[in-house]
């Protein structure tokens, strides 16, 4: 059986926290640049230009792209034939977050109790979603999530009779209501199906798929394309100040659901859609 020591996990998580907050993946930078090319309005072009300049400065001067360096959200696939040595896996990930957010000069944005609101001062605890998978590897994906956009997310428990139209309307309604608050251009993560909590998790997971990749399910890809087009005709635009680039992508993930239900979750993400994956 293959063994992996938690020291190795801590070291990698630390680096991933810093990397994710200083530089966006190529799919995101490309999508923002395409948005700029497609805009005709001066203000929309100026704002997208500032976002490109911002990413350049972030990379060169090691200043986080956005001051909201997020809550550290993880999707972790644990190979069932892997043996983890050292401390508990959850403690190791949190230790990596602690080191990454401290050593990387990232913002500590987590309060211990949602009502008492005392800052934990090291950005822990992280939010970790585990899956047990075949194999002997550990796959870690970090997606630091800012809350300006998170706050504009929605969950709709639709009826089966609402069907495809109901789903499309729900996504459009969520984006319209978010308006300028979620820092457009957005990436819109959508979960359809499952139950109350899995649906929301699917929406978050959808945000980690590259923005230039469509769903592999043809009927879902059609919805992604149609809704993205409709969103970009709402006129909200970069910064919410008018334009064609309201969203860079609509990513949908689905799961089986109950005969009585059609849950739809819309997880908003701003243009600082960060995700870094490593396999150990």
């Amino acid at each position: 059986m293959r063994s992996l020591h938690t020291d190795e996990i801590i070291k990698n998580v630390r680096e991933m926290c810093i990397e994710a907050n200083l530089q966006l993946a190529p799919d995101m930078t490309e999508a923002i640049h395409n948005g700029l090319e497609n805009e005709t309005g001066n203000l929309a072009r100026q704002i997208l230009g500032q976002l490109e300049q911002n990413m350049q400065i972030a990379k060169e001067d090691k200043i986080p792209i956005c001051q909201d360096t997020g809550m550290a959200v993880f999707f972790v696939n644990v190979g069932q034939d892997l043996h983890i040595e050292g401390m508990s896996l959850t403690d190791a990930i949190n230790e990596g977050v602690r080191q990454g957010y401290t050593d990387g000069y990232l913002r500590k944005s987590v309060v211990k109790d949602p009502l008492l609101r005392e800052n934990t001062k090291d950005n822990t605890p992280a939010i970790i979603h585990y899956d047990i998978v075949p194999g002997d590897k550990l796959e870690i994906l970090i997606a630091p999530k800012g809350f300006g956009s998170e706050n504009m997310s929605k969950l709709y428990m639709l009826k089966p009779a609402d069907g495809e139209e109901g789903v499309k309307n729900a996504i459009l309604q969520a984006v319209s209501e978010a308006g300028p608050n979620a820092c457009p251009p957005l990436v819109v993560g959508v979960g359809i199906g499952g139950d109350f909590e899995l649906c929301a998790k699917l929406a978050k997971k959808a945000l980690t798929r590259n923005v230039n990749e469509s769903s592999k399910l043809p009927h879902i890809k059609e919805i992604e394309d149609e809704v993205l087009d409709k969103i970009n005709h709402l006129g909200i635009g970069p910064g919410g100040l008018g334009g064609r680039t309201t969203a860079l992508a609509v990513n949908i993930e689905t799961y089986a659901t109950h005969i009585a239900g059609l849950p739809v979750a819309v997880n908003m993400c701003c243009h600082v859609n960060r995700h870094v994956k490593r396999t150990l």
Binding site: G41, L43, I47, Q50, L51, Q53, N54, M55, I57, A58, D61, K62, I63, P64, I65, C66, Q67, D68, T69, Y105, L106, R107, K108, S109, R117, N119, K121, G148, N151, G179, P180, N181, C183, H233, L234, G235, I236, G237, G239, G240, L241, G242, G243, R244, C270, H271, V272
Partner: protein, 187 residues
């Protein structure tokens, strides 16, 4: 129109700014976000003195990342303004002249902006590295225990913002989208 202004901002200067103006701010501004607003509000409720004189001043809704050695401040972009809506009318009625943030405001805030002839500016959300370059000095002056949410006194130079809600209540978030859609229809 591109305009340069220097804080503090008098009412005479504020009424000259119009929704949609691109403005470069220089001078002193103060950072305060959720927790600092709550504390300031409670201080005023008790009839005590605020940690800085808000009269004619500008508050920036900001919680920056920590500065590296040799940097004035870390990433420093605006946070969503609507979370401060509960506390804002009282600050505007007490002399605050402007706010920098991003996103929509409540009717109560817009009414208070018009009543007091103030201005709500937006900076570009998610451009924190770029905006940090316009901040030349930064010093925590109150609520140090709040970490990133402490109140900072900052000197800015040509800090780029857009007038979203002007002293007459014109709201760029509504008009810009309407104008854009009307233009697209023409095409």
């Amino acid at each position: 129109m591109d305009i340069k202004i220097t804080t503090p901002l008098s009412k005479e200067e504020l009424i000259k700014l119009h929704s949609g103006d691109y403005v470069y701010i220089s001078g002193t501004i103060y950072s305060a976000r959720d927790a600092a607003h709550k504390r300031m509000y409670e201080t005023m409720e008790k009839g005590e003195k605020l940690p800085f004189d808000i009269k004619d001043n500008v508050i920036y809704y900001l919680g920056p990342t920590p500065a590296r050695e040799g940097q004035v401040i870390g990433s420093a972009g605006p946070t969503t303004a609507s979370r401060m809506d509960k506390y804002t009318p009282r600050l505007l009625d007490s002399g605050l002249s402007g706010m920098i943030g991003k996103g929509k405001r409540s009717k109560e805030v817009i009414d208070a902006i018009v009543r007091n002839k103030c201005v709500y500016f937006a900076a570009v959300g998610g451009a924190g590295a770029l905006l940090s370059k316009c901040i030349k000095k930064s010093e925590v002056i109150a609520y140090d225990d709040l970490g990133t949410e402490a109140i900072r006194k900052m000197e800015v130079e040509d800090f780029p913002v857009i007038v979203v809600i002007d002293s007459k209540g014109n709201n760029l978030y509504e008009t810009a989208v309407e104008q854009f859609l009307a233009k697209e229809v023409e095409k």
